[in-house]
Amino acid sequence: MREQRTAVRSDAAQLPVLTRFLQEFWSAAELPPAQALSFELALEEVFMNVCMHGSPAGSAPWVEVSLVLAEDGLTMTVEDDGPQFDPLSLPPPDITASLTGRPVGGLGVFLVRQMMDAVSYHRVGARNRLRMTKHIAN
């Protein structure tokens, strides 16, 4: 089992830091590069959600990301100490709507759910915890 964690402020400028953290974990664990993108996307979508919707004006909650590689796959957990918010409670976007009828947002969490094998949300004490797992094929 391989495990690593890092923490940043919920500031959009920190996104490259998190992406690099994930990429370095990926290459150190010698995981197949083609499968990194779904985790990079999940990390971006979840982190940006906290930055844009989970950070009340004037505050910048801490966001902690952990990666745990085990037999059954990779589990990425994103925790923040912002206000309680379950992104999984958002209604799915209408992906059949026409070009003009399509809302410009709301796709991020939907994509995460599609690309991961399992996604769960828990409020743990004063923290939001979003856990995502996906099998990694060799």
């Binding site: 990079e40 940006m48 992906i95 059949t96 070009l99 947002g105 796709l107 939907f110 994509l111 690309m115």
Partner: protein, 118 residues
């Protein structure tokens, strides 16, 4: 992300290379606005060649959606081509393949520009 432009007659081919994520989406959106406005003459067709685009998130999809709407309003032919598998997956999962035309490669895309526009 780097973006190059090539023109073929009145068709502008936009070639983004790298990652279209939250960090690069705003800049790309502004570049596309300039492309649609045209330098003197507005383009008749805009094709985004994604052969070197390695990654797209919802922030990038948003830019494609806004570009497709701009093209519809302006009567400009708009299509994407040469999506890498990972980008194609994101595109299909979000249902964008139903609202934005995607061609297999640039040659096909250019051949599909409506007559009288190229």
């Amino acid at each position: 992300m780097n973006v190059r432009l090539e023109t073929f007659g009145l068709t502008t081919v936009v070639i983004p290379a790298g990652r279209l994520d939250f960090s690069s989406a705003n800049g790309f959106e502004k570049q596309l606005e300039l492309v649609f406005a045209g330098a003197g003459t507005a383009p008749a067709a805009v094709i985004i060649d994604c052969a070197a685009l390695e990654y797209v998130s919802s922030a990038g999809l948003r830019v494609f959606l806004l570009a497709a709407r701009s093209s519809q309003r302006a009567g400009v032919y708009f299509a994407l081509c040469a999506l890498q598998p990972a980008v194609g997956e994101v595109f299909n999962l979000s249902g964008f393949n139903r609202i934005i035309t995607v061609h297999a490669d640039r040659a096909t895309a250019l051949s599909q520009v409506p007559q009288g526009r190229a």
